[in-house]
């Protein structure tokens, strides 16, 4: 049974976002888009999460925080960068405090560009992340068997 793809729990983190993408992420939970019908739950706890959804760029202050949260997530896990700021820094790329997108710190699996990224795009990205999660889970099982 492909359990992990039927119950992907997501952790939403706001890096240095303007909150535009965050509001779009939360809109996915509302009745219009309703991602809970796929079994997706927005949990605030990295230890319970499978998908790490980051909006906004990485700066000096949140770099260790993001790393720590990522470390506390149990495998298998995927990282989804939502919005162009999370992908490569967006319009804040030249700022003195921004290091860049999430890939300056963590291995990003899915990039969802947009400013703000639309709920349909976010859901599309998350669905791709779920498929990736299943692949990683299968790889983990093979590893364990060895």
């Amino acid at each position: 049974m492909t359990s992990i793809s039927k119950s992907p729990w997501l952790l939403h983190y706001d890096g240095s976002s303007c909150n535009g993408c965050d509001i779009e992420v939360l809109a996915c939970l509302t009745p219009i888009y309703d991602v809970e019908r796929f079994g997706i739950i927005n949990t605030g706890n990295p230890k319970h999460a499978d998908i790490f959804l980051i909006t906004g760029g990485i700066n000096h202050q949140n770099k260790p925080v993001v790393e720590q949260i990522y470390k506390q997530m149990p495998k298998p896990k995927v990282v989804v960068a939502v919005g162009i700021c999370a992908c490569d820094g967006g319009i804040f790329k030249e700022c003195y405090n921004i290091l860049g997108g999430v890939d300056t710190t963590l291995p990003v699996d899915i990039f969802v560009p947009g400013c703000a990224a639309r709920p349909e795009a976010i859901i599309d990205g998350v669905v791709k992340a779920i498929a990736l999660l299943q692949e990683k889970r299968n790889a983990m099982k093979l590893e364990a068997k060895k």
């Binding site: 260790p64 925080v65 720590q68 949260i69 470390k71 506390q72």
Partner: protein, 639 residues
């Protein structure tokens, strides 16, 4: 008969010798161990012969010489107390002591004492149980005290003078007095030993001679003396009006006619003060300044049990009358109020003190109901509480010696800092309120007894009191199991003798839980059948006993079972979640300036609702009013 006399006299002898062993020598420690061994052997011998012979003995009718000795001793006690009272200018204490001794002497010499023909000593199943508790738990505490006092004086070498010779002597005087008390049938003898225990308590509380200690010691003394005065008046009344001077005759008078009500009320009052029921609870709280063995021996396992022992003896007389109502109401109310107050305390010994008062309240309420089932519950509560509470006090004492603090907040993470002591403490706490341990069984029986006797007020007190009890014990438990990473193990300053005592007591507690059906059938049930002239079906069925044994077994093999059940997977340790700002040791986080900030979560004390400032004064007022009104009606009605 000889072994009873031996049990009473030997501890006094040992005390006399110990008083001369002024310095902390190996010889003194060995002598204490030796005396303890002698007492334990004597107690077990007495218990075994008592069980085999299976009869209640009433002994010792002719006591002329002993009575004279007792009179001399009583005068000596009074002079001692008045001496202290004058030195520290406490008038009330002096007045009370003179009043009660004066009454007793007047009765003795005026020739109105016509009750010399009744036996002075009573030995039945209840005395066997009390002796076992005093003898075994009491001596274990004395053994513990040897190691503890050494460490105590090392820590406080500049603050207090080392008077440990007096300390040990008094511990043994106290043991002797307790034996005398539980064996007494004659009321004057019981009163005499009662007074000795009050005096022991006074001197031991004031051991450190600090101002706070002396204030608390005198408070304990006047409250106990007040009870003693009530006792004395009751004895005089019984001698003059009822022509009885011993407990057996008193009980056989029965409560149909109501003639016993006045002395019964006075004796109940004495029991209530000795057992620190509201409004007389402050002395027990103040007694916590004494060194830990005192708190364990006097103020939880034995002396305060003297009060409820008297109430349990008198219980058939409590049924269906106003004195019984007074006793149950005060007991039930104390159970609930004290457990609420315990929630707001963070000092370990204060929590234990309130817990003791609370449990004594429950035993009092059981005795006051005056029916078979309730008294069964009361006796078992007394036994289990004696063992569990002394274990708790001794553990807290050991932790205080090792950590330097007895505050519960400082015991955070004890399972990492002092694992051995933490496990002992966890066992003790679990034994105080969790299924399937003894206290829970007794509480269960008490609940059933209250419902059966239609005492709705008691049911309410018990039901709400149980939940508050659950709260303060479990939060202590929570502090102990916190696994604090990157912390060092403390050096445990616990001596071998202390460990032996602690472990034996923990083992005893668990053994009691498993063996209690045996105790019930062989000791408690026969005693109750005799007292109530009826036999009742077992209150906790054998089916339930088996299930509880299963639970006990499950708890014990839990670690092994869990190991096998699931978690063969490799476990990765990660930091706890602090929003990603965990500084790495689970106790600090990185704040917005990039600095390390510490974070610590204390237990909840809810002082606005359960604090002493909020609850203590109303509780004392309510209980005082209850006693005054009810005693007034009883005495007024009787006269």
């Amino acid at each position: 008969m000889e072994n009873i006399a031996f049990l009473i006299i030997f501890p006094f002898l040992a005390a006399f010798i110990l008083a001369f062993m002024r310095r902390q020598t190996k010889l003194r420690s060995v002598f204490v161990f030796f005396s303890c061994a002698v007492v334990v052997t004597a107690v077990i011998y007495y218990a075994v012969t008592g069980l085999i012979s299976n009869q209640t003995q009433s002994l010792l009718r002719e006591t002329h010489e002993l009575d004279i000795a007792m009179v001399i001793a009583e005068i000596g006690l009074m002079l001692l107390i008045v001496g202290y009272a004058v030195k520290y200018r406490k008038l009330l204490v002096a007045i009370l002591s003179v009043a009660q001794t004066g009454l007793m002497l007047w009765l003795d010499f005026s020739g109105k004492n016509i009750v010399t023909s009744a036996p002075h000593i009573l030995s039945d199943k209840l005395t066997i149980m009390m002796c076992l508790m005093i003898g075994i738990v009491g001596t274990l505490i004395c053994v513990y005290a040897v190691g503890y006092m050494k460490e105590y004086h090392e820590r406080h070498s500049t603050e207090f003078k080392d008077r440990s010779a007096t300390f040990f002597a008094l511990l043994f005087v106290f043991l002797g007095a307790m034996f005398g008390l539980v064996f007494s049938n004659n009321l004057m003898w019981m009163y005499f030993f009662w007074e000795i225990t009050s005096l022991c308590s006074f001197v031991l509380i004031g051991y450190t001679r600090t101002e706070q200690a002396m204030t608390n010691a005198f408070r304990a003394l006047w409250m106990n003396l007040l009870g003693g005065l009530a006792f004395a008046i009751a004895i005089v009344y019984c001698a003059l009006e009822l022509r009885t001077g011993d407990i057996r005759s008193f009980i056989s008078l029965g409560n149909d006619t109501g003639v016993v009500l006045i002395p019964l009320a006075l004796l109940a009052f004495a029991g209530l003060t000795k057992s620190a029921q509201l409004p007389f609870s402050r002395w027990l709280l103040g007694a916590m300044v004494a060194p830990t063995p005192t708190s364990a021996l006097l103020h939880s396992a034995t002396m305060v049990k003297a009060g409820v022992f008297l109430l349990l003896r008198l219980s058939p007389l409590f049924e269906g009358n106003l004195v019984g109502t007074m006793v149950t109401t005060i007991g039930g109310f104390t159970f609930f109020a004290a457990s609420m107050l315990a929630i707001s305390q963070s000092d370990g010994k204060k929590v234990l003190a309130y817990s003791t008062i609370s449990n004594l309240g429950l035993i009092t309420a059981c005795a006051g109901v005056g029916m078979h089932e309730a008294v069964w519950a009361g006796i078992l509560l007394m036994l289990f509480h004696g063992v569990s509470k002394s274990l708790m006090f001794l553990s807290v004492g050991a932790v205080e010696n090792s950590l330097g603090s007895r505050d519960i907040e400082d015991m955070h993470g004890l399972i990492v800092k002092l694992p051995g002591l933490a496990f002992v403490m966890i066992t003790g706490i679990a034994g105080m309120f969790l299924a399937p341990f003894g206290m829970l069984i007794s509480k269960w029986a008490a609940l059933k007894a209250f419902v059966d006797s239609n005492s709705m007020l008691l049911v309410i007190f018990l039901v709400f009191g149980s939940s508050t009890t659950l709260f303060y014990w479990t939060k202590w438990l929570g502090k102990l199991v916190a696994v604090v990473h990157h912390t060092h193990r403390y050096e445990s300053k616990v001596k071998m003798s202390q460990w032996i005592s602690l472990l034996i007591q923990a083992f005893l507690m668990i053994a009691l839980c498993i063996l209690f059906p045996l105790i019930s059938t062989n000791l408690v049930e026969p005693f109750l059948s005799e007292m109530f002239h009826e036999t009742l079906p077992p209150i906790i069925s054998s089916g339930n006993m088996q299930i509880m044994l299963m639970m006990l077994f499950a708890i014990v093999i839990l670690p092994i079972a869990v190991r096998f059940l699931t978690f063969g997977k490799k476990k990765k340790i990660v930091m706890s979640y602090m929003g990603g700002a965990n500084a790495g040791d689970d106790r600090h986080f990185v704040d917005s300036f990039g600095e390390k900030s510490s974070v610590y979560f204390a237990n909840w004390y809810m002082e606005d609702y359960f604090g002493e400032k909020k609850l203590l004064r109303p509780s004392i007022l309510l209980s005082s009013a209850t006693i005054l009104v009810l005693m007034g009606i009883i005495i007024g009605g009787g006269l």
